[in-house]
Assembly symmetry: C2
């Protein structure tokens, strides 16, 4: 399907998950056509894009072939063939994030080194090639239990993360080059999304706080705005802005942070793409993270990120024990709840804890939104 291009350019998105879908929807409001590269014909964004190219975003040839006829390319995932992106960049394509930033964040070791090099505080860490080296470091006292092991590459949604709380956990270390970092004594987990365009214009979204599903590293509940002091909020936004400037970001960057019990802010991870911690911006903020990314990528003035109304976001995850065609049990009953916006991604198969959708609950009274979110969690189940 074709329609005339308002902004006189073509936009390619790699890949076609829910983030790509919501970005395509934002593009439709401006009548910008989108082409998507994804290995799956039935990916979530298939419904929302103008053209779908079936291909592997880890494959050099597929990525280069997709990008060569496109002017602007936006990534919604990090595991993209970076050599192909360098080649496309050399061919004059505009890519958000740049392959330089992507390469740095793809490897959590390099990401940690980038942060510490520029004096952004993170938890202390060491890099190891094998699990044997980690055990050795434990024995000789270089590192102490408890700690967190993260594989340097290919982790997502809690995959590639192992929390070692006891000696016996050492037997199930992940067998891959890893970052080992101190387990931080956390008061809250915070996130700030920052956007920056080629002109250097920069804007942060208000700080959110998140709780995670025990043992899964998946957001259980996000609250906007975070219940923190204005000093801490300002500190978190300054940190995110500084990382964006230092990395010469063009596009959007999610900065996940730990607020420690002693009131310190440590950077946990950065992700230079639209992010789960910004889903609520569609309903809660004047500009959504998706429109903001379009503004940044087109080098347009960034939009206001002010909160219109407080919000809670919950992920709609596949129930444990079910694999197959999804059944959204309780969806109709859930629609009786006040102020809930549903986003159903359209994934063909549910799996335990797979992100099948999300819901944003808005309410002028934030505590009421939290209450409704809790009711929603017990009402809506994705089975098969």
């Amino acid at each position: 399907m074709k329609s005339q291009k308002t902004l006189n350019t073509s936009l390619g998105i790699i890949s076609g998950g829910q983030l790509g879908k919501m970005l395509s929807i934002a593009a439709q409001n401006w009548n910008v056509n989108t082409a998507i590269l994804d290995p799956e014909e039935s990916c979530p964004a298939a419904q929302s894009c103008d053209e779908l190219y079936i291909g592997d975003y880890k494959d050099y040839d597929n990525v280069f072939a997709f990008g060569k006829s496109i002017e602007i390319i936006i990534l919604e995932i990090e595991h993209v063939n970076v050599d192909a992106l360098y080649a496309l960049q050399a061919a004059g394509k505009r890519i958000y994030p740049s392959p330089q930033i992507l390469q740095m964040v793809q490897d959590k070791g390099l990401q940690k080194q980038f942060l510490t090099k520029h004096d952004f505080k993170t938890s202390d860490f060491h890099l190891y090639e094998t699990s044997e080296e980690i055990k050795e470091a434990c024995s000789n006292g270089t590192i102490n239990i408890p700690f967190v092991q993260k594989t340097r590459t290919m982790g997502y949604d809690g995959m590639g993360v192992k929390i070692v709380r006891s000696e016996s956990d050492l037997e199930s270390l992940l067998a891959a080059p890893s970052v080992v970092e101190d387990l931080v004594d956390i008061d809250k987990e915070l996130a700030v999304i920052v956007a920056r365009n080629a002109s250097g214009h920069l804007k942060c979204f208000p700080v959110v706080e998140m709780t995670f599903i025990e043992g899964a590293n998946l957001v259980d509940q996000l609250i906007c705005p975070a219940d923190i002091s204005s000093d801490i909020a300002k500190h978190a936004e300054t940190l995110a802005s500084n990382i964006a400037n230092t990395s010469n970001l063009e596009g959007i960057l999610a900065v996940e942070m730990f607020l420690t019990k002693s009131g310190e802010i440590l950077v946990n991870e950065i992700a230079p793409r639209p992010h789960n911690s910004g889903h609520h911006t569609i309903e809660a903020c004047i500009t959504s993270q998706y429109e903001q990314l379009l503004r940044a990528a087109f080098n347009l003035p960034l939009g206001s990120t002010d909160v219109k109304i407080p919000a809670v976001m919950i992920n709609i995850l596949g129930e444990d024990g079910y694999v197959g065609q999804p059944n959204y049990e309780g969806l109709e009953e859930s629609m009786t709840l006040e102020g809930v916006s549903f986003h159903i991604y359209g994934k063909q198969e549910t799996r335990p804890k797979r992100k099948m959708g999300h819901a944003t609950i808005v309410n002028k009274d934030k505590s009421k939104a939290i209450e409704i979110a809790n009711t929603l969690k017990s009402t809506l189940k994705v089975t098969a």
Copy 2:
């Protein structure tokens, strides 16, 4: 392009203008697939639907062929072949609005008769078959200048409306069966959108006020919420609710009203579809008119219509004197304005006063939003 259907049904939309586009976008959030019937391959909704059927919605065969494989059909335009809709209804299809309501509103004479029959106040009117009869009625004092002539059928966006202010205007009466109504001494024009589902659950959106472009009958500026007393707001909402109940509405209905200088509310026109006076609900209300229509059509609980933040909506119209491929002059500069969301419909050709897009300006301070809207109007021009 295909994706799995969450709500286990197929949705057809007649036709593919901007209202159909915004409805398709709302459907994407729920992963509901949409098929659209429109005569133009490059219609605005082409970008947002899953399947586009090229055909004439005024043609019996085209409408019936489109609808026969679809379970739920929503109209975004009134000039649809009503016989085909009756046939589809008889075949068990669910149609919003029903052909019964559609037939009544398609003819402004029948619409007026429906309203007066049920004691909904409207301006006084007479029906005439020809312009000669109107002149005769003027001569014999049945009607008095000034008055408004509206053709009974096929009017839209100010087409088919003639305001007669002097004897000389009688020479340019419209040559078609018409409603002639008193020219009302208006304080404000108001509108209420009301949704109702098959279970009889009903919700109104907050009353908005509108100013119109002199002589064009096109919305110049819409303000939400309207600057009226709570008594008048309540009266307007009750009126809209009563019309919805009386007409046995399933779907959505826009009720345009005149608030007279004596404080009386008269019904101007009703439109059983998403409406220009509800565009702002995307950004300003908890549920948009488009999602609300989906909820009504799927017989789901209706969503909250509370205002998240005050808003002003302006139509982005083709400048006088330009016909051709549109050029959105000043779009980038317009993006520096605070709190503006742009909706560019993607129409291939601009024409004088054609609706090419709209912008919603949100601001906690409504007067500030009005000010920004005025700046925007002088900044953004659609030329060719």
